[in-house]
Amino acid sequence: MKTFLTFMLALVLIAGCQNSNKKAGSSEEGGNRKLTAAGATFPLPFYNMVFRNYTKETNVQVTYGGVGSGGGIRSLKDQVVDFGATDAFLTDEQQKEMPAEVVHIPTCIGAVVIAYNLPGVNDLKLSNTLLEKIFLGEVTKWNDPLLKKDNPEVSFPDEAITVVYRSDGSGTTHIFSDFMSKISEKWTTQVGAGKSLKWPVGMGAKGNPGVAGTISQTPGTIGYIGSEFAFAQKIQTARVQNSTGEYILPDLASISAAARGNIPDDTRVMLTNSSDSASYPISGFTWIILYKEQAYKNRTTEQALATVKLLDWLVSEKAQGEAAKVHYAPLPADAVAKAKTVLRGITYNGEPLLK
């Protein structure tokens, strides 16, 4: 009897906790001037800044949780956020797993830069062949003749090359490996593309700060870092050969140039190895994802309208002009037009929300 009583007590306590949770949730849903979103950490500094500005301008509160792209997709699937955010567009298969059709809105462009630590060397050109061979572990010394051939003016030390990669799953790894798969067949078969990989050589470090810290502390290392972090920290980067054969240093202009050219109407495209001759080749969109039909799970029209209005503002000149402040490249005009078309296709009970 006694144990039964205590058990009941425990149950009541647990039930009590759940109840209070529900209450907290519903009071938030009551106000329609509050938007909740979650997803990729890569655009977090950009979103934090522009959403704060938006709140000042319109009094609409936007809460963005940087939980990672996977978490963003899960949150949208569970319908606990107004919109999600991801660095990798949903594959057709992932689309099918969602309860309803999801649309993608590109919000800005980022890149993956190649950082290295070679005392005395401050300009490094990396051809596609070199990148392939270094990251596959075929070129293992800095004084390899292949490196000499691309960089005749540099005197390389007789030191081992240590590759540093992201040990955590990351959109940065995804963009980098997507580019590698486009330039190297060997990479495609041996490693492939994805948020985390089976690396043939090297060592892992956690997050952009981990990789950047490891590289800056260890001579002889080379690795890849998200451009927003590298630019903010003024990290020295290598020139990478693009599809037209040019060696391009990553900066906001060359990253933005990657989005010039053919973008499909649903904007689901990897910008890596872009055909534009001025483009930095390891660039990529980051997207906001939301349901095309906004009338779901007791959503009010006001809530849906507030959501699309925010996104319409996010791709506007005003918000895009702010991107450079936090080291993201703005969308080129063509991409903005595509994003606006997608936004105009978002409906509430079949009626378009934006006119």
């Binding site: 425990a10 792209s69 799953g169 089976k198 060592m203 260890t218």
Partner: protein, 285 residues
């Protein structure tokens, strides 16, 4: 009005049941979450060193992480053993009750309170460059560096329990040995250590358990390459470290495999504690 005795009983049994429910819930979700992994790979999951998260050819095995965890933890225990054992003898026997012992004991306890990220940063910025400067290692990342930092981290756990047990050895016994003409070292060998044996071992088991689960400092130094380490100076990864690194973006089979690694870590910790209890039982009987 129930008696205060009754209330105490209810509160205590409630607390006990809550712990049981927590542990039960943990096992339940670990087992539940790892079902897909064991269904796909079977027992091979434990004995395979392959960890390939690439879509289309996903293959997961825990051996690399089990090996990394055991290698770092055992090495850490061996490295810290002489340090912590002599510290506890110093504190509990030679300088018991003196001012210097009190200060030293305070410092050792302080070691336990340092956040692991601080150990990690110290290892990363100070210890690792020191090792490379000494020429012990090329880059300084790997099992050996991680073991060194772990060894420092577990000293307080191994020390504080055993020095208290050593201090608790009855004076009558020691005096008896002295009166028979034993030297101080002989007293320690024949009276103090045998009497305190179970407590000393319990302290080391606690320390070993701590080393098994340590995450942050290890992640920063071990190199995070998901392969079975080929030696003490090669890079590797541990169970706790791979979970911390990859859980955030994991889904599907990978998520399940990480949970399965969590389950294995749970089991290994359980087995280590079980063996420890057995040893203590054998030694005290």
């Amino acid at each position: 009005m129930p008696s205060s005795d009754k209330i105490t009983k209810i509160v205590l049994s409630f607390a006990a049941i809550l712990i049981l429910m927590l542990a039960g819930g943990m096992i339940y979700s670990l087992v539940g979450g790892s079902v897909p992994t064991f269904r796909t790979f079977g027992l091979k999951f434990i004995f395979s060193g392959e960890w390939d998260p690439t879509e289309g050819k996903e293959a997961y095995g825990a051996l690399a992480f089990i090996a990394g965890t055991l290698m770092t933890s055992i090495a850490a225990l061996i490295i810290s053993l002489p340090l912590s054992f002599s510290t506890s003898l110093f504190l509990g026997e030679y300088f018991r009750g003196t001012r210097i012992a009190r200060i030293l004991s305070l410092l050792v306890d302080l070691l336990a309170g340092i956040p692991s990220i601080v150990y990690g940063l110290w290892g990363f910025y100070v210890l690792r460059p020191l090792l490379t400067d000494m020429g012990l290692d090329n880059q300084g990342y790997g099992v050996f560096t991680a073991s060194l930092i772990l060894a420092v981290m577990i000293i307080p756990y191994a020390t504080s329990l055993s020095n208290e047990i050593i201090a608790m050895v009855p004076n009558d016994l020691k005096e008896a040995a002295y009166s028979l003409g034993a030297t101080r070292l002989e007293v320690i060998q024949t009276v103090t250590v045998p009497n305190a044996r179970s407590g000393i071992i319990a302290g080391y088991i606690l320390a070993f358990g701590r080393a098994l689960g340590e995450t942050m400092a290890v992640t920063m130094l071990i190199g995070n390459s998901n392969v079975v380490p080929s030696g003490f100076f090669s890079t590797g990864n541990t169970m706790a470290s791979v979970i911390a690194n990859q859980f955030g973006e994991a889904e599907g089979l990978k998520l399940s495999s990480l949970i399965a690694i969590g389950l294995l870590l749970f089991l290994i910790t359980g087995i280590v504690n079980g063996i420890g209890k057995l040893i203590i039982k054998k030694m005290t009987s």
